[in-house]
């Protein structure tokens, strides 16, 4: 397939050896900190720490290169957009104004604005490695079991597993349908007028949706015949029990969470302000 998708990368590493549930908990804690805090010091620590974890996981940057490129492009555009829309946002947040370069009026570049945009970018950098690592070091088979382990209803957890199982099949169906419809003359490229393109999109997604609805019937029958949902709980073939490494990791994660939150909110603001 032409389009790359992130997938599990098999390695022997400390990170791979952790139970999926542990990684999921860490991922959730990590994301929560990175979302809540705007404290530059914490974000920097998180970022450096996640780089170390990346190293430990033996995942090479080029293996996830296509995603990193996308994210860098996104961040660049986002930064430009922020500057265009609100060049003095930093001044507003930090309360001071140190002009570095004079352009015109509100587009003067201030140290505060640079620092603010640096922080926004850093926020992404702090959380992205954790998300990436979670995806490429957790086997999809273990994913549903992990969700269930941290308290998600097992039926809902299983629906996530089903989604992962059938994404490639549906992608193949989509390609087949799109090719067949293109041969008949349906065009989704920018050569067509927008209204026409929207109608054409319908001609491709309708067969996909109707055949997916049929698929739902078949799979429901298969699951029913194999007694899915018979009991209040279920066990998981790919579940891993927590071991010492898992407990230690979770403890470290928890400490980082608490310390981060305490530091962030100790001064009553989630921003770290170096200007006062």
């Amino acid at each position: 397939m032409a389009t790359e998708m992130l997938a599990y990368i098999d390695r022997k590493s400390f990170i791979h050896g952790l139970s999926g549930a542990t990684k999921l908990i860490i991922f959730i804690m990590w994301s929560s900190i990175a979302m809540l805090t705007y404290d530059t010091r914490i974000l920097l620590v998180l970022f450096i720490f996640s780089m170390i974890v990346l190293k430990v996981s033996k995942i090479k940057l080029r293996e996830i290169g296509f995603v990193l490129l996308f994210i860098l492009a996104f961040l660049l555009l986002n930064n430009i957009a922020i500057y265009i829309f609100s060049p003095q946002e930093g001044v507003k947040i930090y309360g001071t104004s140190h002009v570095l370069v004079e352009i015109v009026g509100r587009y003067n570049i201030t140290l505060e604005q640079l620092f603010y945009q640096f922080n926004i970018t850093l926020k992404y950098f702090a959380v992205i490695p954790a998300a990436l690592l979670f995806i490429v070091t957790t086997h999809p088979s273990e994913f549903a079991a992990s969700l269930n382990k941290i308290g998600v209803n097992y039926k809902i957890a299983y629906s996530v597993s089903l989604a992962l199982r059938y994404i490639p099949d549906i992608q193949r169906d989509f390609r087949t349908i799109a090719q067949a419809q293109q041969a008949r003359g349906i065009d989704l490229s920018s050569k067509e007028k927008l209204t026409k393109r929207i109608k054409n999109a319908g001609s491709i997604i309708l067969p996909l949706i109707l055949s997916s609805l049929d698929r739902i019937d078949t799979i429901s029958n298969a699951m029913e015949l194999r007694a899915f949902g018979k009991k209040k709980q279920r066990t998981w073939y790919n579940e891993r029990n927590f071991n010492r490494h898992d407990y230690v990791t979770m403890l470290v994660g928890f400490i980082i969470l608490i310390v981060s939150l305490v530091i962030t909110f100790s001064d009553g603001s989630r921003f770290y302000n170096p200007f006062v």
Binding site: M1, A2, P140, S141, S161, L162, L164, R165, P168, D169, D173, T176, I177, Q179, A180, Q181, Q182, A183, R184, G185, I186, D187, G202, S203, I204, L206, P207, L210, S211, D214, R215, T218, I219, S220, N221, A222, M223, E224, L225, R226, A227, F228, G229, K230, K231, Q233, R234, T235, W236, Y237, N238, E239
Partner: protein, 570 residues
């Protein structure tokens, strides 16, 4: 004394969504340890019968039941679908739908997981079962790394893990190539011998199932059981002909030769068949028939020259393939699943790009011809008609390609009506497509391709999952198109199709073209048959056993004769 495990007593069932009962007054007893084959044309109720056994009827598909059905002595309507699933294990037709786990091990374990079996016991059981189905080396593999046959074995494993008393197979051969189908039937047989389960197989590919012994064959038609007897008795009778089920080809050949068939000839086991004085009859028939002359060679319409193609950085799916197709030919492309047949047809239609080598259409290089322009020369009909249909009404669906090409309304009407007439859909032109059967939908998709006036049509598995009646209908329709001058290329693994309808076939194995010959020659060549996962036709062996000098010629004459007898080819 055998103990009955399944007992239908004056059983009638009507789906809530239907006006008339699907099953009428069924009386059937199946004993423990028996191996039963249920055959019948599409819509005869055989799948519904299976649903009654596994509990999908009445628990998932609601309806009215009269009479009684006891499984293991208990009325099924008083049980639950869960408790029934402990007794009757079902292997469904569509292995993609049944394989719900992300890996082999998980999928086998699925019902154990639902039963809260502790992990250590579960893992042990999964290993035991995987050995039974020869999948122990693949426990960690994902579904996408497996072949169709392997997927089916996993599906079987997932059912065996419950230690069920009855194994129910719903059309187990539908998605398999001939050799894989043969292995599947053999595996079912071995498992039954080892575990002494009762086995029920629902299938219309009778000859393939008879590769291994079955105890009884139930024939169904229009919701009723019309025959319940041993294979030998059934094959000696004329019931199969009457119900439009394809008889094994060797049986048909013997009938053509006017042999009197008796159960004593051991008709079910082709290898142990007693031919007695049939040999002479076969000889006489062979001498009395001749073969239609083949057509003179026309000019080439499609030339493929040294095509090589790979998806991404993988090893080539198509490896240095060259061939020429002549105007007006009807040709099949065969080979095992994943050999590259579909990829080849997609390359021809321009769906996939980036191959090396050249392609010419009527002498013109197709390098810069877009997918849309190619469709006006070479039409592609997908295996699943639902993947192509995007309009509600038949007329609109067929007209779509023309509307998108900005053709005037009058011309559209004329061309659509003509295409509908050719496809026998004109009387239905104002119907919604949802009211059509699978076969009719297939025709709609063919009409929607025909309307663009292509000179070549490529069909991917045109008859997959069709019973004999619908198979014949679709194929005769394609033969008619062919006589109208359209070149037809079919990707298939149906041996009958290639023998009966395509004088020439291309055999692909591991991305390479390993044979370009007549279908009869291909199917008589053991080496090619094995490399491409095909199956030698029983006719060939029959001729050899009757000491006929040129078995391939015998096969060819049979095919020619059979077409005439079945009253087509006009």
């Amino acid at each position: 004394m055998k103990k009955p495990i399944i007992c239908f007593n004056n059983f009638t069932f009507k789906y809530d969504s239907q006006k008339n009962p699907t099953l009428h007054d069924i009386n059937l007893t199946i004993n423990q340890g028996e191996k039963i084959l249920i055959v019948g044309p599409s819509g005869c109720g055989k799948s519904t019968l299976g649903h009654c056994l596994n509990g999908l009827v009445p628990f998932a598909y609601k309806g009215d039941i009269t009479g009684s059905l006891k499984v293991n002595g208990q009325e099924t309507k008083d049980l639950t679908i869960f408790s029934l699933s402990k007794i009757v294990g079902t292997v469904l037709q569509d292995p993609d739908g049944q394989f719900i786990g992300l890996s082999v091990g998980e999928d086998i374990a699925f019902s154990l997981e639902n039963d809260e079996v502790p992990i250590d016991i579960m893992k042990e059981k999964v290993i035991d079962i995987s050995k039974l189905i020869n999948m122990e080396k693949y426990l960690g593999a994902s579904v996408h790394e497996l072949s169709g046959g392997q997927r089916q074995r996993v599906a079987l494993g997932g059912v065996l893990v419950e230690q069920v008393d009855v194994l129910l197979f719903d059309e187990p051969l539908a998605n398999l190539d001939p050799a894989t189908g043969r292995h599947a039937i053999k595996l079912i047989d071995e498992i039954q011998k080892e575990l002494h389960t009762t086995v029920i197989i629902i299938e219309h590919r009778l000859e393939d199932v008879l590769d291994q012994h079955v105890d009884r064959i139930i024939v169904m038609d229009q919701g009723r059981i019309i025959s319940d007897t041993t294979p030998n008795e059934l094959l000696a009778s004329s019931i199969l002909e009457q119900t439009n089920i394809r008889e094994p080809l060797y049986i048909r050949a013997l009938k053509y030769a006017n042999c009197k068939l008796t159960p004593e000839m051991n008709l079910e086991h082709f290898n142990k068949l007693n031919l007695y004085d049939c040999k002479e009859a076969l000889h006489n028939w062979y001498k009395s028939t001749s073969i239609q002359k083949s057509l003179p060679e026309a000019e080439s319409i499609l030339e493929v020259e040294k095509i090589t193609f790979a998806y991404g950085a993988q090893k080539p799916t198509i490896n240095d393939i060259s061939f020429t197709i002549r105007k007006g030919e009807m040709i099949s492309i065969v080979g095992k699943n994943g050999a590259g047949k579909s990829t080849l047809s997609r390359l021809i239609c321009g769906f996939e790009k980036g191959h090396s080598g050249k392609m010419f259409f009527a002498g013109e290089d197709m390098k810069d011809v877009t997918i849309r322009e190619r469709a006006e020369k070479i039409g592609m009909v997908m295996q699943n008609p639902n993947h192509m249909i995007s309009k509600h009404m038949i007329y609109d669906e067929v007209a779509l390609g023309l509307v998108l090409r900005g053709i005037s309304e009058d011309e559209i009407k004329e061309r659509v009506e003509k295409a509908l007439q050719v496809c026998g859909l004109f009387p239905f032109r104002n119907w919604p497509i949802s009211a059509l059967s699978f076969g009719q939908r297939k025709r709609v998709t063919i009409a929607s391709i025909l309307v663009l006036n292509p000179e070549v049509i490529i069909l991917d598995e045109p008859t997959a999952g069709q019973d004999f009646f619908h198979y014949t209908q679709i194929m005769e329709f394609l033969a008619k198109l062919n006589r109208l001058g359209i070149t037809i290329i079919m990707v298939t693994h149906d041996m009958h199709l290639m023998l009966e309808y395509t004088p020439r076939c291309l055999v692909i194995a591991d991305g390479k073209l390993i044979a370009d010959d007549s279908a009869v020659n291909v199917l008589s060549n053991k080496k090619i048959v094995e490399a491409a996962n095909l199956k030698q036709t029983s006719l060939f062996e029959l001729a050899r056993r009757a000491n006929i000098e040129h078995p391939t010629e015998f096969v060819a004459r049979f095919i020619s004769f059979d077409k005439e007898v079945r009253g087509f080819g006009n």
